[in-house]
Structures are given as structure tokens and as C-alpha cells.
């Protein structure tokens, strides 16, 4: 383990970043402690993906500091697992489920390393964890959307990292897969690992996360799910986009 309970897993200070030439993040400061399930919510174009890219060292911040697992994002990225948005991946690529999950072992194996028994074990464990072990030899292109998402989740788990970053894992998947992702988040927390998850399902943040960041270029809120989904917070962050707020002060995007 790289992180102990005292070092923050993520620490940003005044993080400001541009996506192409647009200001995407401004003066964002927050800290994530080990073992937290962190939800990141905010309207489209709020800079959520830019923030994830900063955490993974793919974008250099214009100003401010980012520290991941006590080092710079570029140095930390071998120790960060990543689940990309499904539509960003070529789903017709010729690969079986086992091949895709095996790609998660790349940092352990290196560009020319051979597959070792612990790589194989990690792949089998990850597939079993999300119940796709029976599909191991099925080509990616023949899976349902939910099964594909679970394959990518298994790949991220096979990376075997202390921090897992997921970009909209709940988007367009079936209920079984949603429940599976929920369970994976819980098991990560009990193993002391941290997950940062971009999510659009505002009505579910209460049960899914321990800490919620409400983002719309600036960080509108950093706290518990209870306080994050208060109507006043969301109204400010989602200004302009319509919200349906029911009697229990629970909020859904319109």
C-alpha cells in the first residue's frame, strides 16, 4: 500500500485548467482521504472529465497544484486504475473478454513482459468479481452494453490499484450492472481503496458515496451526500438547467 490513513489520496490546491482554449476548471481545492467513495456531479460541460484528466496527468493544470498518492499525477498514474466512458472505446475491436481484462495488467507486466501467474490470477479474480468469468472467451463485440461495462470494470480492477477513477460507469447500463458497480464500490472501500466516480444519477448519490463534489467549473460543494443534494447547492451548480425537486427535497435532473 502506498497510502496510509494520514496521507490524502488526492489533494488539489487552486486547480485551474483549460480544455482546448476554454476555461474548464477554476480554483478547485479539495482533499480525498483513503477509503472514500467520491461522487463527482455537475451538469454537462462542467469540467468533470477535465478534472479526471488532471488527476491522471493527461492535462497539465494552467495554475494550482495536484497531488495524487503523494506525488505528481504523472508519477502516480501507474498506480491509478481508470474506467473510461464506454462510448470512447472501439467496441468492434477484435478481443475476447479475457484479453480486454488482461490489458489491465499492462503496468505490472511492462511493454515486453510476459504474463506471469499472478497476472493470470488477477485477471480471473477481476472477472469473477463482476460475474463475467463465464464470458471469458466471448468477443467484446458480442456482449450486451452492461456486460461490456462489467468487462471494463474488471479491467480496472485487474489493475489492482489504490485509487480507481471511473468516468460515468452508470451511464446506459442495466440494473444488474448498476447493482454490480455499487457492490464493487463497497468492496473497494472495505479494502481501504479509494474510488472517484463521475455520476449523473443525482437521486442515487446518497447511497453510493461518502463524499460528493458538486462541480460546475468552480467547486460548488465538497461534503457529505446529504448536504450536496440540498436544493440550494444544486440550484447554484445547475443554474440554467431545469431540476425537478420532489417533496423530500430529493433532486433529479430534468
Amino acid at each position: 500500500m502506498i497510502s496510509d490513513a494520514l496521507t490524502p489520496v488526492i489533494r488539489t490546491q487552486g486547480l485551474t485548467a483549460h480544455y482546448r482554449s476554454l476555461l474548464a476548471l477554476e480554483d478547485v481545492t479539495f482533499t480525498v482521504r483513503p477509503g472514500m467513495r467520491v461522487g463527482v456531479i455537475g451538469p454537462n460541460g462542467a469540467g468533470k472529465s477535465t478534472m479526471l484528466r488532471c488527476l491522471m496527468g493527461l492535462i497539465q493544470p494552467t495554475r494550482g497544484e495536484v497531488e495524487v498518492l503523494g506525488r505528481t499525477p504523472r508519477r502516480a498514474r501507474r498506480h491509478v486504475g481508470f474506467l473510461p466512458q464506454r462510448q470512447e472505446v472501439d467496441l468492434t475491436f477484435p478481443a475476447r473478454v479475457r484479453d480486454v481484462v488482461g490489458m489491465g495488467r499492462y503496468p505490472h507486466r511492462g511493454p515486453i513482459g510476459r504474463t506471469r501467474p499472478d497476472d493470470r490470477d488477477a485477471v480471473e479474480r477481476a472477472m469473477a468479481h463482476v460475474a463475467i468469468d463465464h464470458l471469458a472467451s466471448t468477443p467484446l463485440s458480442e456482449l450486451s452494453g452492461g456486460q461490456q461495462q462489467r468487462t471494463f470494470l474488471a479491467r480496472a480492477l485487474a489493475q489492482d490499484t489504490d485509487l480507481l477513477i471511473m468516468d460515468e460507469p452508470y451511464a446506459n447500463v442495466d440494473a444488474t450492472t448498476c447493482a454490480m458497480i455499487d457492490r464493487v464500490l463497497i468492496s473497494l472501500r472495505s479494502a481501504g481503496r479509494t474510488a472517484v466516480v463521475v455520476d449523473h444519477q443525482l437521486d442515487r448519490v446518497q447511497e453510493r458515496y461518502d463524499q460528493v463534489l458538486v462541480l460546475n467549473t468552480v467547486l460548488h460543494h465538497d461534503g457529505t451526500p446529504d448536504t450536496a443534494t440540498e436544493a440550494s447547492v444544486l440550484k447554484r451548480a445547475y443554474a440554467g438547467s431545469a431540476l425537478i425537486i420532489d417533496g423530500d427535497q430529493r433532486v433529479m435532473p430534468a
Partner: protein
């Protein structure tokens, strides 16, 4: 039969060297064609091969025969870098960026040839190949260039697979994807140099697309796809060379036509997805079903029957 196949090899040394060159080129280009096809970047081969002309000319003028490979790789690397620079820094699409970069380099190569008229470069042969004129020393150049390509792709297979499938994740995992892009362009240029004497700069584009495209029709893993593509590439090298010998056709076109033939055959007859085989399965299941149930005639309920047989086909293909 042995007269057709063995006699030319026994009688003519140029057929032996030609066959060796065709096998090496077919296999090496096929390997890279898989990566081009799965990345949806097939036209990159076109762009690099045109730029390579300039490298060949400059390399030859500076270092003679031995300057060709380094010259080609250098100019290819420069053109690859220029393409990504134009694509990143301008609003132009990647395809346009390729066109903007490779056409002037090609033109510059042609211009230099027209001025200098170097003795060792026969423009027609450089563009369209002349496998039967391959000398043993050419086979060495071909072998070294192709060996380099095959070794790098096989040793770095995992890296190339990840880089093709999910470059963002690859970058997250610490892979220097920009460096991989350049490495790949350099490998392409080496393969193109290897193919210079056999199929030439223009037709090598076909060998950098057809074998991979053929294999992509049937394969479900990158590794098997590469194996099949290499078989298709080498097979068309052999078939094309004999076609060229017996029918008196230029060797480059003959090899490319053989590869196109392989593509068409697989397109029509692939086990599950072939245009003809798919029809045949469909037809057989439908008649079988109608016969077994003994009732639902297509004329009374065409829609319903079609739906049933479609479902059956889907179910049956899941088991194969």
C-alpha cells in the same frame, strides 16, 4: 503440376529470390495492416508510402543502396510528426492533415528525381515494383527491414494491442503514446522500404490494407487476426508471383490482385458472416423450419416466419 510450381524455381534464380522477397514482404506488411485496420487508420499507409519516395531519393543520393532504409525512415518519421502536428494545431481532420503533408513530400521526391535522374532509381519500378528483378542484395535489404518490423511488433505485441484499443488508458498507464505513434510510422516506412522492389510504393498500400481487412472479417482476437493476415499476405505473394510468371503480368499488380481475390473469397464464404454462407444458413434454416413445422407457409405469414428464422439464426450462431 510440378512443372508449373517447381520448374520455374529450379530453372531461374530470379524466381527463387523473387519468391523469398514476396514471402517476406507479404508477411511483414500483413502484420502492420492488422494494426492499421483495427485503428481505422488504413490511409496512413498511403500517406507514409508516398512520403517514403522522398526518403528513398535523398537516402540513395547520400548513401547509395545503404542510404535507402535510413532515408526512408527519417522522412517517414518527419511526415508522421508533421501529420500529427497539423491535425493537433489546426482545425483540419486527420485525413486532410495526411493529404496536406504527403502530397508535397511525394511531389518533392518526384521533382528531385526529374532533376537529378539518379542512375540506380527506376521510377516505374520504385512506384510499381519489379519482383523478378530483385537481386540477392535487395533480398538482404528487404529481409533486414522486414525482420526489424516483425521483431518489434511481436516483442511489443501487448503494448501495440493496448495502444490500438484504448490509447487514453494506455497513456494513463504511463505509456508514451506519442512515441508509440512515431515508432509505428517508422515501422510502416521500414515495411514500405522492404516492399519497394516487390510491389512498389503505390501498390504497397494494398498490402498494408487487404490482408488485415480480410482477417478482420473472420477473426475475433488480434493475435489470430495477425496470424491469418500473415497467411493471406504470404499466400498472395506466392500466388501473385506465379501468376506473374505464367501469365506474363507485372508482379506488383499480380500480388495485389491475388490479395484482393483472397478478400473477396472470405467476404463471400466466411463461416458465419460471409455474404453467401450467411444467405445459405438463412435459407437452410428457413426451409428446415417450414418443413419441420409443416404449416406456416411464407405466403400466408412471411413476416412471422422471417422473424422466427432470424431468431433461430442468431441462437445458432451463439453456439458456434
Amino acid at each position: 503440376m510440378s512443372d508449373l510450381v517447381l520448374a520455374p524455381l529450379v530453372d531461374y534464380g530470379f524466381m527463387r529470390t523473387g519468391l523469398l522477397a514476396a514471402l517476406i514482404v507479404g508477411g511483414c506488411c500483413a502484420l502492420l495492416s492488422c494494426l492499421l485496420v483495427v485503428r481505422g487508420r488504413s490511409l496512413l499507409g498511403d500517406a507514409v508510402s508516398h512520403s517514403v519516395l522522398l526518403g528513398v531519393v535523398i537516402g540513395y543520393l547520400v548513401g547509395g543502396e545503404f542510404g535507402i532504409l535510413p532515408g526512408a525512415m527519417l522522412v517517414a518519421a518527419v511526415s508522421g510528426a508533421a501529420i500529427s502536428f497539423v491535425a493537433r494545431r489546426t482545425p483540419l481532420e486527420a485525413e486532410t492533415a495526411m493529404g496536406v503533408v504527403f502530397t508535397p513530400l511525394f511531389a518533392l521526391g518526384l521533382a528531385i528525381i526529374s532533376v537529378v535522374q539518379p542512375r540506380g532509381i527506376d521510377l516505374f519500378h520504385v512506384l510499381f515494383g519489379n519482383v523478378l528483378g530483385v537481386s540477392p542484395s535487395d533480398v538482404w535489404l528487404t529481409g533486414v527491414a522486414a525482420g526489424l518490423v516483425v521483431a518489434v511488433v511481436l516483442v511489443g505485441f501487448r503494448a501495440f494491442e493496448l495502444w490500438s484499443f484504448d490509447p487514453v488508458l494506455a497513456a494513463c498507464m504511463g505509456m508514451r503514446t506519442g512515441a508509440m505513434d512515431h515508432l509505428f510510422t517508422a515501422l510502416l516506412s521500414a515495411a514500405i522500404v522492404a516492399a519497394l522492389k516487390t510491389v512498389g510504393l503505390v501498390l504497397v498500400v494494398a498490402m498494408l490494407i487487404l490482408p488485415g481487412a480480410t482477417a478482420a472479417l473472420v477473426c475475433r482476437r488480434l493475435a489470430t487476426m495477425m496470424a491469418l493476415a500473415v497467411a493471406v499476405g504470404m499466400g498472395s505473394g506466392v500466388v501473385g508471383l506465379y501468376g506473374s510468371y505464367h501469365l506474363d503480368v507485372a508482379s506488383g499488380p499480380a500480388i495485389v490482385l491475388a490479395a484482393s481475390g483472397a478478400f473477396v473469397v472470405v467476404l463471400l464464404l466466411a463461416p458465419r458472416s460471409g455474404l453467401l454462407t450467411g444467405r445459405w444458413t438463412h435459407w437452410r434454416l428457413r426451409t428446415h423450419r417450414n418443413g419441420a413445422v409443416g404449416g406456416t407457409s411464407p405466403t400466408t405469414d412471411p413476416l412471422g416466419t422471417d422473424q422466427v428464422s432470424d431468431a433461430t439464426i442468431r441462437a445458432s450462431s451463439e453456439h458456434t
